[in-house]
Assembly symmetry: C3
Homo-oligomer: 346 residues x 3
Amino acid sequence: MKFKVGDIAQYLSGTVAGDSQKEVENIAAIERASEGDLTFLSNPKYESFLYTTQASAVIVSQDLELKQPVSCVLIKVKDPYSSFTMVLEMVEQSITPRYEGIESPSFIHEDAQVGEDVYVGAFAYIGKGAVIGDRAKIFPNCYVGEGATIGSDSILLPGAAVHHSVQIGNHCTLHHGAVIGAEGFGFAPQADGSYRRTPQLGTVILEDYVSVGANTTIDRATFDATVIKKGVKLDNLVQIAHNCTVGEHTVMAAQVGVAGSAHIGAKCMLGGQVGVSGHINIADGSKVVPQSGIMSSIEAEGQSWMGSPIVESKQHFRITAAMRRLPDLIKQVRALEKKLEQATGG
Amino acid sequence: MKFKVGDIAQYLSGTVAGDSQKEVENIAAIERASEGDLTFLSNPKYESFLYTTQASAVIVSQDLELKQPVSCVLIKVKDPYSSFTMVLEMVEQSITPRYEGIESPSFIHEDAQVGEDVYVGAFAYIGKGAVIGDRAKIFPNCYVGEGATIGSDSILLPGAAVHHSVQIGNHCTLHHGAVIGAEGFGFAPQADGSYRRTPQLGTVILEDYVSVGANTTIDRATFDATVIKKGVKLDNLVQIAHNCTVGEHTVMAAQVGVAGSAHIGAKCMLGGQVGVSGHINIADGSKVVPQSGIMSSIEAEGQSWMGSPIVESKQHFRITAAMRRLPDLIKQVRALEKKLEQATGG
Amino acid sequence: MKFKVGDIAQYLSGTVAGDSQKEVENIAAIERASEGDLTFLSNPKYESFLYTTQASAVIVSQDLELKQPVSCVLIKVKDPYSSFTMVLEMVEQSITPRYEGIESPSFIHEDAQVGEDVYVGAFAYIGKGAVIGDRAKIFPNCYVGEGATIGSDSILLPGAAVHHSVQIGNHCTLHHGAVIGAEGFGFAPQADGSYRRTPQLGTVILEDYVSVGANTTIDRATFDATVIKKGVKLDNLVQIAHNCTVGEHTVMAAQVGVAGSAHIGAKCMLGGQVGVSGHINIADGSKVVPQSGIMSSIEAEGQSWMGSPIVESKQHFRITAAMRRLPDLIKQVRALEKKLEQATGG
């Protein structure tokens, strides 16, 4: 791809300082950019790179006051970061392969319903009674079970699976190997120490604009549904057990595990490898540091938490700092005991 | 599905109090049930819901003495929880899609042996010399490697893989993306800092009634076999490394990781995200709290463990409670030092 | 397989003590070996088994001085462990199934380029413009995206995926369900609390001799590339986020998670379930104990680390030991306070 700086500025409703005929053909970070690259400056702490960068053009804030001369062309906009995202989106349009039509062999049950402009890759399986919305993309080796629904404009990357009766909203993305609707882990202990499987008759509902990472698993409910609300973003290798709900616009980093019947509020942020116990509630806006363990409900909204089991973050920092002084503290106490013994004559 | 209350009572060898002709068509939790729902009461702490529920019928203990009048029909049985599980099983029979026959295209090697009443989904692969037992179900996109054996009545959900020579017992369930028999992680360090792969010539044996969660991985042994004994239940995204054994009726929650050559006893319960070091033994009946790290062998049977590295649970609670007081303790010691200095005149 | 002891000794450039015509047909650990087995003795602490083993033949060091008579044939070599690995390699050659040719149905785009002596399993998908090197093996249900490159002698086990434009070097192994090049987890928070996806236009590069475990995920960069250098070995269920680099010959055990833009040095060893925060650097040769959390950069090379957040291992042992004494310490301090009060008259 090659773009003129002037055309990019126009697309971003910005202005050009320098040669608007200059062409860029790659995108790079400001500290590593070279001739022909377009980059951006959003975080002020990177401003020094602006005066040394080899980039051909840099998207900057219209409010930026230059402290030195620059050798690159500037594209001045209101919000450099979101303008840069717009450029990424434009470039993506131009470089991403097109996926369209029904490849062969694929398996589409005669009682399945497939919308318009749908892509179905080779070796994809669409079961009886499944419904695929308009413009959905079902990549190779995907599995859509009996009676499952895929909303319009949703994407199932290769090897993603949506099991029977599961409902996926519009504009959702399921990455490679994501498994939606495997059976919940329900086994009742028997007198002889063995376990009897409890049938899992519920389903999973993903509302619109949900993104599910590669090899992430979301189990179907025992009855009712495991519900992932609008706009939730889950990273790779996350586990959501049966009967959970995850509130709107909550994000979870990779390898988070959520046990059964946990209810996580809206706009929460869970760091990587966080664990959430079953049957608890997490208040809206909770922020949890990576590797923390949430063993009981969080009732205060919008707080930051750390540790396993978690405590409020500021307290955790104090405890962690104190722990490092613990070996010395033991010596201090021993010294005190000795001194006091001497002082009091034992 | 629609069932008459009287028919359900008969199936459960129970009795009806109320209109046995009443029909139910859904299943719900007692606190959320509405008209047309069947539910159950097992845990006494939910008894208050019995008097307010909108459910059409409730399965209760035959020993229950009503404290108030109820508006629902009662089905009185000996053990409400296991009766309810029986109902779930009956409903499952009636609503679960049937999977039968050999779908096309699938790949069944001419030297593979496929039993009676087997389901083979489209795009499933059954290699040379593989043996598939009667009534087994091999869903789409599954892989059964050369010489692997699948016992009768076992189920491989879509995308599950059983690699060459692996033996799966009867009545096992492998959920979506479970990988049985990938190569163990064996590399010998070389003088130049690189690694030389150690061939993994062993296999994996799953005994009967084993359940393996979605995207869980069980590696083949270097020689001999990684063995998962009868009745073991593994949740999603669990890792079992090469040469391990897992004892009968042990259960592991999601994201547990077990390193190579660990031997885990029977009837253990490992919480989510627990880690087990290699080359250690865990005694029968051990219970381990989520996120704990087991770094050395557990010799006492039937104990409860917590922490990373683990200590006995009661001790862990004391330590955790003490840790929260640590910042204050440091201040106390400092105050003591000062006071003692003053008292003794420095 | 059946081998004569004399032939094995010749293959290993070793000498035989005993009957060189004796045949072995299995491999076993020295403590469990029986008639017909070949085993080895490398670790001196197992020497006692040499005098009691039922094995037919044992590979030993040429420097070993027998303390008792033995009933087995000895194969004397310079380095028993690497000789044994050579035997495993020889046996593997003879027992591993051959995979060759193009099975049907598979999907190979007419614009893909497939080298010589390549295996393509049924239901494998090779997209437009993809390049498959000589002697590569692409097992059933694999996905090779548009424009992706697979080096010569590389192996994609069933269900492995290499997404569009990703480059895999020579002699790499991707185990079952490994996902290389799924989209990085990039979302920009919006004013209303929702998130806007940041396109991920970069790629992933795996250099030569990289091994990637089953269901492990390596995400594509936002721009540039996520880079896994020569000889890196990743176990199962590992997560490598976008824009990371992993240095030569670094190994990671199962379920390690590495957040975005982390740079991990060469020859590091990360234990199972370790977490690495984003945007940090880890020095060459760092060794990190399982379940540790690396929250900030490690600058000193070749050190050993533990804990979450990590501290240097020796310090961590001291702290952990001290923690177990903490409940008692609190009592000691309370006693001191009381004693001092009495001594000073309050």
